[in-house]
């Protein structure tokens, strides 16, 4: 009994993390305060990081926690604190609640049908990575070097655009 449990501990942990991530995502739809929604999203991201770790892609798990939770969500939490957003009155959902719920049910049906159909036989085994950070880096800087350069262009464009937005706001305040 215990040996069977220990043999399947990876699968059990994967199931636990998957349900944790889905639970956090579902909470995002029902919670009212943006800060609580941010905490639910952080929970989902941490569970996803744990899933990546269980799958053996540790560098993506590290990116997930460092970039998403450590940078993007901390930025978001700061903005929520800066704006002091408190949604106490008013409607929580837009007028598209019923079409949105219908679309979600249709998507859920599509998930159930597509997941239950057998997928093509895998070349690799899930959980056994044939590449680590070294293989990833060689592929990224060798085969996909153009994409690497394009990301730097994208980041520079984002910084310039953020500065332009700030300048517009200062101009409108003075003018």
């Amino acid at each position: 009994m215990i040996e069977t449990l220990l043999a399947n501990v990876d699968t059990l942990l994967l199931l636990f993390c998957a349900f944790g991530a889905l639970g956090g995502a579902a909470l995002m739809l029902v919670l009212r305060q943006p800060m609580r929604v941010a905490m639910a999203l952080i929970t989902t991201m941490v569970f996803l990081g744990a899933i990546y770790g269980l799958l053996g892609v540790h560098f993506i798990a590290a990116f997930q926690v460092l970039i998403y939770v450590g940078a993007v969500m901390v930025f978001m939490v700061y903005v929520i604190m800066l704006l002091e957003v408190r949604e106490t009155a008013g409607r929580r959902y837009s007028g598209l609640l019923i079409p949105g719920a219908a679309g979600f049910l249709a998507l859920l049906g599509a998930i159930v049908i597509s997941v239950w159909r057998p997928l093509p036989s895998p070349i690799g085994e899930i959980g056994d990575t044939s590449y680590g950070i070294a293989g990833f880096s060689v592929a990224f800087l060798g085969e996909y070097w153009l994409l690497f350069e394009l990301t730097s262009v994208l980041l520079v464009a984002a910084v310039v655009a953020a500065l332009a937005v700030i300048r517009v706001s200062r101009g409108s305040r003075h003018g």
């Binding site: 995002m28 739809l29 970039i67 978001m76 079409p99 899930i126 980041l155 655009a161």
Partner: protein, 100 residues
């Protein structure tokens, strides 16, 4: 149901929950967070397919999605801050007079 099916199911469920959040919620910040949730679902599917095909291409794409998500937030947050200062609310219905 094997591991691939489970992970793809979770990925599509995360994406669809994020999409529903973007459609039904009215708070701009919550809508932005739901977009991030959609990107997370895409990332999970990319990692799963990368492992199924035993290539590093999916991992490279995941890294690019991280960069795109960071750039998106870097642009979106100043815009939301400006809108919130001007309109004094984060309700998406207050921004109907925005023009392209």
């Amino acid at each position: 149901m094997d591991r691939t099916q489970l992970l793809i199911g979770v990925a599509v469920a995360l994406f669809s929950l994020g999409l529903v959040g973007v459609v039904v919620r009215r708070n701009v910040l919550v809508m932005l967070m739901c977009m991030e949730l959609m990107l997370n679902g895409v990332n999970l599917s990319l990692v799963t397919f990368a492992q199924q095909t035993a290539t590093a291409a999916g991992a490279v794409l995941v890294f690019l999605v991280f960069v795109v998500a960071t750039a998106e937030i870097a642009i979106a947050i100043p815009i939301v801050l400006l809108l919130a200062r001007r309109k004094r609310t984060l309700d998406i219905d207050a921004y109907v007079d925005l023009k392209g």
